[in-house]
């Protein structure tokens, strides 16, 4: 199993007294650029430490928010490509549906792959609903634009005999010929996220790596949908490295220390309600049917996090114990965390990439360093040795 250290690069000082809005409408006067510089340098230091400790790295971007200062992840990746040595660099994700220009995306990512000497994992996402307002990309038909952008990027990265033409309704280019081409051949691994079986099938058919977030013990049906589609296309079991899962991480020498860190990391989930209501469901982002169901439920979306025994958990308000029970957070001593992670991997039939949110919110540098170091020393070596439940089956193919 590989483990990726993830932080959203939050600007936590603005999380106090925000008046109900941490996203979209919160004025940027609430950010002190000098403090932001200190924080960003700190987060890069911690990613560098993760690299030295043998962990991989995950980064992402969000817009108009105090929860994530990476408003263009290309900047994050560019810095990381130069200052880290061994870690895989996973972007999850690059919000393709907000981007009017996939050529630019192909050029940026190829260059980053070359600078990092082939360490890039390209995770593409559509983009979260609330950010269609700041990007002003039309949320209607986002799905179609996403897949076309992805097709275009792959074609741009794998065409080596001079310019090609691409004139569709969405994108028009006449002489596509990207320099440099990517370091990894034929192209860096493609990742994406999903919360739906339909999308899981689509990713399975293409063999891309699929990650889920906050799905807890409801993860297995999504993985199974992927596996079925993968088998249908490739006539073998998908290897465990095609699956990723984002969990919150809090390790401690004692359970009490771990719980204290767990509270800090859980603040990430507790910011989720502070997206002003109008932006949570832009028109066309979800289907007509889903919108009708939402109106019938008077706007309350259904719970999607469950414990092993089927208890529904609201991850925005749940206690640390709830989050552990739901497989949303891995928290405890190294032994406990190892058991929680491998137990979770068993429950979904194998999972080869743990996306570990080991820093969030107000967690300070010392706690973050301790969280990463203890994990790397006591848990990571055992996870590297861990034999996935479906590994034997995959190897036998």
């Amino acid at each position: 199993m590989r483990v990726f250290h993830f932080t959203e690069q939050p600007y936590a000082p603005a999380w106090k007294d925000h008046g109900g809005a941490l996203r979209i409408t919160i004025p940027n006067s609430r950010l002190d650029p000098k403090l932001a510089a200190d924080l960003l340098h700190r987060y890069y230091d911690e990613w560098q430490l993760a690299d030295e400790l043998g962990l991989d790295i995950m980064c992402n971007e969000h817009h108009s928010t105090a929860t994530c200062m990476a408003s263009t992840v290309v900047v994050t990746l560019s810095v990381l490509a130069r200052i880290t040595k061994k870690a895989r660099l996973l972007v999850l994700g690059y919000p393709l549906a907000h981007r009017p220009d996939p050529l630019r995306a192909a050029e940026e990512l190829s260059t980053i792959d070359v600078i990092s000497r082939g360490r890039l994992n390209m995770g593409f996402v559509k983009g979260v609903p609330s950010e269609f307002t700041p990007s002003n990309a039309n949320p209607v038909h986002v799905e179609e634009r996403f897949w076309e952008s992805l097709d275009f990027i792959i074609k741009a990265m794998t065409t080596h005999d001079g310019p090609f033409n691409w004139e569709s309704e969405n994108f028009q280019y006449r002489q596509v010929n990207i320099w440099p081409r990517p370091y990894q051949q034929p192209h860096p691994p493609v990742w994406s996220t999903t919360g739906s079986k339909h999308n899981a099938q689509r990713l399975g058919e293409r063999g891309y790596t699929m990650a889920t977030l906050g799905t807890g013990y409801a993860t297995k049906p999504l993985y199974e949908a992927y596996r079925e589609a993968y088998r249908g296309k490739f006539h073998r079991e998908p290897p465990p490295d095609r699956f990723g899962y984002l969990g919150l991480m809090a390790v401690g020498e004692t359970e009490a220390e771990a719980r204290r860190r767990g509270e800090l990391v859980a603040d990430y989930l507790r910011t989720l309600p502070f997206t002003p209501a109008p932006f949570r469901n832009p028109p066309g982002y979800i289907s007509i049917d889903a919108n009708v169901q939402l109106m019938k439920a008077a706007g309350r979306p259904p719970n999607r996090s469950f414990t092993k025994d089927g208890r529904a958990i609201n991850m925005m308000t749940g206690s640390v114990q709830d989050l552990i029970d739901a497989g949303i957070m891995f928290c405890g001593t190294p032994d406990q965390v190892y058991d929680q992670i491998t137990g979770f991997a068993e429950s979904c039939g194998g999972m080869g990439n743990l996306l570990s949110m080991s820093h969030a919110g107000f967690m300070d540098h010392d706690d973050t360093v301790a969280n990463l170091s203890l994990f790397a020393k006591e848990v990571l070596p055992r996870l590297k040795e861990y034999r996935q439940p479906n590994e034997a089956a995959a190897a036998a193919e």
């Binding site: 002003n136 039309n138 209607v140 179609e144 109008p278 028109p283 919108n291 019938k296």
Partner: protein
């Protein structure tokens, strides 16, 4: 080929359209606003007392599937010009409300050959203010419940409990919300080119506005009328953005009076 009275689904240029035809007299093409077609409301019947009302549900607002590439107001404008031609409709009075007014204006800059007069009611489509002015209220910057309060002067009309509405109404609401974004997300509810083309609309036009419209203020309507070569401007009292809902009889009376008048 004559259009059948009542509700039907017809096909024009490969696009299936839900039609509602009622009344007798000169043809009146009714182009519904961004909230969709309100068949039950009194406005259509009031208009049908003095005209043959032809009321299509715009593509994507109705049940029939629409091709992905059908995604601009221009697409709808050309489709309705095709409709007039396919059914050999002449001397048609075109009445458009909100986003339907935008469709009417886009039709008229292309061809008024089959049109008699045009009525724009609280219509979108043009940009009057400078680049930092928001001419048209951002309907997706508020919750649906708050948007209703901005739409209507009469706050009784603004309160609706969607958890109690029947399925077909919920589907119509959901389709209208998505369709309006499909055609009007960016540029928001206007075509930057349209204002410069309005000089082509030489037929008599009436720009009719809810005096209390908070989506597009009466000043926006006044500027619209000023940009048309042969238009007058009037307001309807005690109405917000939808006079056909808040003052249906007055809306119909003013529309029919203008159409029948010798301008």
């Amino acid at each position: 080929m004559a259009l059948a009275d009542g509700k039907s689904i017809i096909e024009i240029s490969g696009i299936a359209l839900e039609m509602d035809v009622r009344g007798n007299g000169k043809p009146l093409l009714f182009l519904h606003p961004e909230i969709g077609m309100d068949r039950a409301g009194p406005a259509l019947d009031a208009l049908a007392k003095g005209a043959k009302v032809i009321a299509p549900t715009h593509p994507a607002y109705g049940k029939p599937e629409v091709p992905l590439s059908f995604n601009t107001i221009d697409d709808i404008a050309y489709l309705y010009l095709d409709l007039l031609e396919a059914h050999d409709l002449r001397d048609v009075n075109v009445v458009g409300l909100g986003i339907g007014g935008w469709i009417a204006a886009e039709m008229a800059v292309k061809s008024t050959q089959r049109m008699a007069k045009m009525v724009l009611v609280d219509a979108f489509g043009v940009k009057h203010g400078d680049r930092e002015a928001r001419d048209i209220y951002d309907m997706w910057f508020v919750t649906d419940a708050d948007l209703q309060k901005v739409f209507y002067l009469d706050q009784e009309l603004a309160s609706r409990d969607t958890s109690k509405l029947p399925d077909d109404e919920l589907y119509a609401i959901a389709r209208a919300r998505e369709a309006s974004s499909r055609f009007g997300w960016r540029p928001y509810m206007h075509n930057p080119k349209l204002k410069g083309r309005l000089h082509r609309i030489k037929i008599p036009s009436l720009v009719l506005w809810g005096a209390e419209d908070k989506i597009a203020a009466p000043a926006y309507g006044k500027a619209y009328a000023a940009a048309l070569p042969n238009a007058s401007f009037a307001t309807i009292d005690k109405s917000g953005h939808f006079p056909h809902v808040e003052q249906p009889r007055e809306f119909a009376r003013r529309t029919l009076t203008f159409i029948e008048g010798k301008n």
